[in-house]
Symmetry: C2
Subunit: 273 residues, 2 copies
Amino acid sequence: MLNARPNAEQPGTYHPRTAAAIRLACRRGEVTGSTAGLAPGYVQANLVVLPRQWAAEFLGFCALNPRPCPLIGMSEAGKTALPTLGSDIDIRSDLPRYCVWRDGRVETELFDISALWRPDLVAFLLGCSYSFEEALTDAGVPLRHVETGVRVPMYRTNIPCVPSGPFTGHMVVSMRPLEPRQAIRAIQITTRFPAVHGAPIHIGHPQMIGIKDVARPDYGDAVAITPDELPVFWPCGVTPQAVFEEIRLPFAITHAPGCMLVTDLRNQDLATL
Amino acid sequence: MLNARPNAEQPGTYHPRTAAAIRLACRRGEVTGSTAGLAPGYVQANLVVLPRQWAAEFLGFCALNPRPCPLIGMSEAGKTALPTLGSDIDIRSDLPRYCVWRDGRVETELFDISALWRPDLVAFLLGCSYSFEEALTDAGVPLRHVETGVRVPMYRTNIPCVPSGPFTGHMVVSMRPLEPRQAIRAIQITTRFPAVHGAPIHIGHPQMIGIKDVARPDYGDAVAITPDELPVFWPCGVTPQAVFEEIRLPFAITHAPGCMLVTDLRNQDLATL
């Protein structure tokens, strides 16, 4: 159940230009939905908040699984600022919407987590595919889920993550159907962005990575694949959430789907080469 | 019909270590077969020799079609040296074997073209996939045709080349079957080598580029594709020969299949990034 935000508007109706302005709008309750397409050019990030007791193990999980979990920022325990990601960030209020996890399930969604904040909480920020999707769009590579206005389809796979402490499970991937030439171009482009999942992890044979029916994603929405296209799969930042489900983690807070932290980093600053 | 070479040995029995030594061995008739695997690390090149009257148009063809025809060297008319590609090259004798083309067909194969040399002939050297295959092998990407000891399969496609003067036709591609992860890695690796065809031009759906039966290549030998693999297609330096066939060019000389010019350039020197 969502907590009240007096100034809440429909997602997508508010388009401030800078990342700081987006964060302030979130804090004021003026942005409550997906951040897709907001503040073009700025890096957006997946959020994971965990008690300090699991911080080292989760940090290890990110280090050992950098493709799905590219760590781009981390708070000090109890501190709500993330100075390396942006000026004046308050991680308790600067995302549009949060999920509170209990025993591996989403218990509630909140616009603001100040009431749940504790001195032992640590925030982890992971790179997000919005950054490489912008690079693909700039290069003229079409994205079916964007064109059709749905969420990107995501799938649990049989690709094991490297375990770290209690954190163990399988990689989640996102899928974008592309024509062969676009797929080759997309591999080249996303290779330049290792901090936001980088190159695809699979192309063409979903069953090889444990996906039985590509028309039935485990998260997000299904999109059509034409006979001339190949399904192209990237590691996905939803992986930690699938791990929390798998291990029935007692407590965590994450961003709500699509509702990311908008940072002051530029997508182009993440590009290698 | 081959002209006699008194010292000819079986291909593959002679492995001098430097490019200059290979060329000398060719000149002496000690190497008469494929140069695949000889002088590891050195760039090998496709050869096209044409009368000067067609040089500008062929140069234009290479410039307009750099993916299949990456020009890495060119002689002055009548000159047999190629100082930018190696010390003391004599293009008339320093390849193991040549094809003489008349009216779009191979009329004869020769070990040495000195008897045919004329003051109006110009030699063009085009990058060759041996360079990127070395990079793939170094990266642990397996090559089926190498493992099974056959020539790489090549296909005529429906991809039109950009015409230049009399030179018009369709791109020839080479094919290597790869598992999806290997294919992604191969795209990354070959992207670094634009001077030797660069990234693949197609992946996964041969019929989209006019290949009716991938088991029946137009040049080279067929290789098996397992259900877990994707066929990956690269632009191929045989393209000019297909063009000569298509336009029934009155006269040309090329390298014989697999019998390249071994240059003093290093494969790694061709790598971008």
